[in-house]
């Protein structure tokens, strides 16, 4: 009998609900039955409500079972072995059919996440066998300006939140004079409701390394830093191992694949400061300083890390580059709508029945994501509000659920897509408490440089408390709106500048929650 090939995700979300126990149980059961087992710890397929999602390789394809906890394992193996002997299926209650046919997965446009959940993320050979490093091979035949042009033509915009065209950033760095240039990857994924960076770093680390290497070739940068948040220890391990493997095989180092071109890469850990997801704070932090925001100009593209020209992009942006080079700019830009080209890995989170990662072309509506993919709330109660784009994103009421996933459509309703995180809340949410939390979060995480952000956020918490306490509520509301305006216009970066989004959207769309808790007699 050939080896039984079984996949149990090593993704940290899957591990957080018992994937390690499941994997151990499978190994133990296989040994007890004398089966030869090939157990792969793959990335997650992104259907997180089904984790641990176990897949078993069959002649027809990979059969999915989920969620599989350790005690389910013997019965699943029984069903499977009987199937093998008799040649016909005896379905187990947790069987979900072929993974590739599950509608949640099948309907997606997996470009950046093409390999996540499919390959063994620790294997460079599997990466190469699944179209890996074709983008780099292509880039090595091109002039730097042609690589930059290709990225520009693809329409790729920064996926970290600001949505700035990646090609234009790269062009500035290419044109900048400097004895040393850098590529910095922003892997400080601090927005609540987002985990796509984590999933790709754990599930396909080589694609990010390849993207950074191409960025180096395109701009003349020879050193890369990957600034990773400490909260992702599994991603750190995966990246360190992948960098070592890529270096050993000549994909990184002083002479990339014999081309004479150099690119070296190192992972650096953050230390729990949300503000370090802002690019200039991140650069300060990499330099060993407090993560305080810098004035712009000078742009980091001209004077970035250690004062040198620096490409700084988010994980998903850089991880989208290899497929653009491998398949061509045209292929990528054919996905999407308007000025939002390509795909966005959307993350469904919070109170949602089918939470997970959905990579789709821009243009789908929020409602389709919440109900067709997400299946509504986890609690079974109506979804009352969703926050899109992290702690600085607006809260949207049901009346705005038809907004298309597109940067411009969101900007038009004073909201933002940000990094693509969608957090659902059911009808038990207290929107005034959420507004207060937004101010509290800003106070905790402010770097302290701009007074409206540093002090205004604390005052904001107090004003909301007074408003709800019934202390001259009408005046407090005026004051709160005025304060939000001051923070918006008086802060250098998005933390102070966008805290008004969650606060004012909560106030505008859910005014009933802001009425005084104790109505005066």
């Amino acid at each position: 009998m050939t080896a039984l090939r079984i996949f149990v995700p090593g993704d940290s979300a899957a591990r957080s609900v018992g994937a390690d126990d499941t994997a151990r149980a499978i190994a133990k059961e296989a040994q007890r039955r004398g089966l030869t087992l090939d157990l792969v710890r793959n990335g997650s397929r992104g259907m997180l409500w089904l984790e641990p999602l176990v897949e078993i390789e069959t002649p027809a394809g990979r059969m999915a079972y989920g969620p599989v906890s350790a005690p389910d394992v013997p019965a699943i193996l029984d069903a499977l072995l009987q199937d093998r002997q008799q040649g016909q299926g005896r379905a187990h209650a947790l069987e979900l059919g072929l993974t590739s046919e599950i509608p949640y997965f099948k309907k997606q446009d997996r470009l950046t996440f093409a390999r996540v959940g499919i390959v063994d993320p620790a294997s460079l050979d599997e990466y190469v066998a699944h179209e890996g490093y074709r983008g780099l091979a292509q880039a090595l035949t091109m002039e730097p300006a042609a690589i930059v042009a290709s990225v520009t033509e693809s329409g790729l915009r920064g996926r970290g939140g600001a949505a700035f065209p990646a090609g234009i950033k790269w062009k500035t760095v290419l044109g900048a004079a400097g004895d040393q240039k850098y590529v910095v990857c922003n892997a400080d994924e601090g927005d609540s409701g987002t985990f796509s960076d984590r999933m790709i770093m754990e599930g396909d680390p080589f694609v990010l390394i390849e993207g950074m290497t191409i960025a180096g070739l395109a701009t003349g940068a020879t050193r890369g830093y990957l600034y990773l948040r400490w909260e992702y220890p599994d991603a750190k391990r995966a990246l360190d191992n992948a960098i070592a493997a890529a270096t050993a095989r000549g994909y990184l180092g002083a002479d990339i694949l014999g081309s004479g071109r150099r690119f070296e890469l190192e992972v650096r850990l953050g230390a729990g400061a949300y503000i370090c997801g802002e690019e200039t704070s991140l650069l300060e932090s990499l330099e060993g300083k407090r993560g305080q925001v810098r004035f712009k100009p000078p742009l980091p593209a001209l004077q970035g890390l250690f004062g040198k020209p620096t490409v700084i992009n988010n994980v998903i942006t850089l991880a989208s580059v290899p497929i653009i080079l491998a398949r061509g700019a045209e292929f990528y830009r054919n996905f999407g709508m308007g000025r939002s080209r390509g795909t966005l890995p959307v993350q469904l989170a919070g109170n949602i029945k089918q939470g997970g990662l959905v990579e789709i072309a821009f243009g789908l509506s929020l409602r389709e994501l919440l109900y067709d993919y997400g299946g509504g709330s986890a609690s079974g109660r109506p979804i009352r509000a969703v926050q899109v784009g992290g702690p600085l994103g607006a809260y949207l009421p049901e009346s705005q659920f038809d907004t298309a996933i597109d940067y411009e459509s969101f900007a038009a309703i004073k909201a933002m897509l940000g990094h693509g995180g969608i957090v659902a809340f059911d009808d038990r949410v207290d929107m005034a408490a959420q507004a207060r939390y937004a101010m509290e979060f800003c106070a905790t995480e402010s770097c302290g440089k701009c007074t409206p952000c540093r002090i205004g956020s604390t005052r904001g918490v107090e004003v909301i408390d007074r408003l709800r306490g019934g202390d001259q509520s009408a005046k407090q509301e005026t004051l709160l709106r005025d304060l939000c305006e001051t923070m918006t216009h008086g802060s250098l970066c998005a933390l102070g500048g966008l805290t008004a989004y969650p606060v004012l959207s909560a106030l505008d769309h859910f005014p009933e929650d802001f009425r005084p808790v104790h109505v005066p007699a």
């Binding site: 609540s192 060993g288 919070g350 809340f425």
Partner: protein
């Protein structure tokens, strides 16, 4: 240059006597030796010290400053800026509870209350038996499977008050 009075030199105050044990001192030194040549070495060194000792002792600050040719104020400023760095010795286990919105939507506020009440400590506090230090954290990247906590760098999802108590009890007994 005009002829002025000779420049008065303000003597640098001698460093107060370190209270670090010899073993701790040696580990701090070895971290500094290994990492101080990196560009932007301060954060890697502080991580190294916290990994080795569980915290960054106050008396480590002048040593790091001297090694990197920084002022004590600069190093202190960095240590105190980042939430992750601690200057007090933690309990045997560090437990981070996610406070961010996605976990709130799944009931993390009740879990926070339960955590503080059952452990008898507030944020940053360490239980009386020295077993657990409780810390807040803003997002662990497990937003579809909240509420989430991290116990000594191990992520746990869908935490209920009951499973929280079981995890804490297991950590206490070392199982």
């Amino acid at each position: 240059m005009s002829q002025s009075a000779p420049r008065r030199v303000i003597p640098i105050k001698p460093e107060p006597v370190s209270t670090l044990a010899a073993a701790e001192l040696a580990r701090i030194e070895s971290v500094c030796v290994a990492l101080s040549n990196l560009p932007g070495a301060l954060l890697p060194i502080l991580h190294g010290i916290q990994d080795a000792l569980g915290y960054i002792p106050k008396d480590a600050v002048p040593l790091v400053a001297k090694r990197l040719n920084l002022s004590i104020a600069e190093v202190h400023g960095v240590v105190s800026f980042y939430h992750y760095f601690r200057t007090e010795r933690p309990g045997r286990h560090v437990l981070h509870v996610c406070r961010a919105e996605a976990c709130q939507a799944r009931g993390s506020v009740a879990l926070e209350t339960h955590a503080q009440a059952s452990l008898g400590v507030g944020w940053h506090g360490t239980t009386a038996d020295g077993a657990i230090t409780l810390e807040p954290v803003y997002c662990l990247g497990n937003c579809a499977l909240g509420p989430a906590i991290m116990l000594d760098h191990r992520l746990v999802g869908r935490v209920t008050p009951e499973s929280f108590d079981a995890l804490v009890a297991a950590a206490r007994t070392g199982s």
